[in-house]
Assembly symmetry: C2
Homo-oligomer: 310 residues x 2
């Protein structure tokens, strides 16, 4: 038996950690979005992979909500004194991940190999796979023109109004073959779509050739967890983006957006009225994850819903 | 009026700082050895330039004797946890210099431009020039085979027995044109060869096409400061190297090694007997620089000797 989950960064990693803690850890495979990856200061940065590494490795920064625990910031201060770009905050410990990854990519190792080695070094028993070893870059057409993802998300604080989102390179990219194989494995019990941003974190994964077909062909139920609670996003630009993309800002709209790839939808009871009308089995659970116990409770509820089909 | 000095890392930077403090600072030009430069973890590292930047910028680490002040080491600990190479110690603040330099070199800026910008940012009024913008690499033939400089010096703690030293690329490299122009400037009052390692820090500079000729052609006296005190090196592998290269370990042997490019030799009184026999004007001064005052005293003595010709 095994479980596979699709995740973006911070929000998704919370549920991924819950699943990791309630399942035999080696039975979990986490697929990380790499549409947020970018090159900055000459370094290859994979924010969602790193958030998953730090969260599952138990070295996530609980105060900041992102980055590494016990982080220091000497590098950023020194970079500023040399006139370098400081809009993307790189902690001193976090830099080791980027420098070592960049070095190994330049030595022709794949992102999959490097990520697998890092998760072993950090003592993570779950499998962590980048969605692809090929470059896919989320780009946004905004009222200020086309923007790279991190320019939009970090430098401009998601402020520009978005009109269109593309996943540049996705149609030519090869989905991670271990990802596709896991989806079609007879032992797969559930596919869990984390409550990450559907447009910025999950869609890049779904846009890879073969992924939607493999999700539909999978024996396992596909369970998506709503990123909307009571008509609002917990954090980040999900609600703002939905409005800009002319979608209703609701848990139901996210379920309809996922369409026929999902079999079960997990929503918060606060959204009960709306989601009653969608064409997919719905199960209710507390989807706000503040404590580790919240994550385990939601993970248990998600797995139970997958098991019974609603 | 102006003064030019040739310097390697820690030892040379001490006298460079003394000169910087006793001269009108904008009249000083410091030429940095780049034969120690190397690529490590994908970063372009220029140890001697950085030592000079930190020392002249007043942010050198006084406890360690190398690197930046108020340094932290979170990066190295994180790199070790990921299985990265840790034999070359990179402080978190120091990393900013390497990452920003590497980024700018990749953007086709020259090492001279980058170094000049860094020294401005750090508030240094003296001019700091890399000996060349072309790649020169000090390599050593040892009893363990050919070694790159940092492999020999840092990774192997200068332990291998050295039989030959080459400055790979030097004969094809172009000496920094501002360096050659400064040597031939009518306003130049003195050229000071710092008490750096003659073979590992000064020779790479002297090996560049045109440098020895320009030193001989310069109107200014060339004053070298002995790196040997009482028959011993203050620090580093100078004495060990001299023995391995079959040279007497003495202040006089260093003067003879420099030969006709120097006009005045500054030695410690402890070496008075030996240096009396060399064919160049000798001046005695306390060459051990423990305090900032020692550096200023030696700098003043060096400039006075240049002025009077002995």
């Amino acid at each position: 038996m095994s479980v596979l989950t699709l995740s973006g960064g911070v929000g998704g990693a919370k549920l991924a950690l819950g699943l990791y803690r309630v399942l035999p850890p080696e039975t979990l495979t986490v697929i990380a979005n790499t549409g947020d990856d970018f090159e900055h200061l000459g370094l290859s940065i994979s924010p969602d992979i790193d958030t998953l590494l730090y969260t599952l490795g138990g070295i996530d920064n609980l105060e900041l909500g992102w980055g590494r625990r016990n982080e220091t910031w000497t590098f950023m201060a020194a970079l500023e004194s040399l006139g370098g770009e400081t809009w993307f905050k790189l902690g001193d410990g976090d830099l080791a991940t980027h420098i070592e990854r960049t070095r190994r990519l330049a030595a022709a190792e794949s992102l999959t190999q490097i990520t697998d080695d890092f998760r072993c070094r950090l003592g993570i028993s779950a499998r962590l796979l980048p969605m692809s070893d090929d470059q896919v870059r989320t780009r946004l057409r905004t009222e200020e023109g086309w923007l790279d993802f991190q320019d939009y998300f970090v430098r401009l604080h998601s402020e520009p109004v978005v009109r269109e989102i593309v996943y540049a390179g996705a149609s030519q990219a090869r989905a991670n073959p271990d990802f596709l194989a896991a989806l079609l494995d007879d032992d797969l019990e559930a596919v869990v779509i984390c409550p990450s941003n559907p447009f910025l974190s999950i869609d890049p994964i779904l846009s890879l050739p073969g992924v939607r077909d493999a999700l539909r062909a999978s024996r396992a139920p596909v369970v998506a967890v709503s990123p909307i609670i009571g008509g609002k996003a917990v954090k980040g630009p999900t609600a703002k983006l939905m409005a800009e993309l002319r979608l209703p800002v609701s848990a139901a709209a996210v379920a309809r957006y996922y369409g026929d790839i999902i079999d079960v939808y997990i929503a918060d009871a606060a959204d009960g009225g709306e989601v009653a009308e969608i064409d997919v089995a719905v199960s209710f659970a507390p989807t706000l994850m503040q404590t580790v116990e919240d994550r385990e409770t939601l993970a248990t509820a998600v797995l139970a819903a997958a098991d019974r089909g609603f």
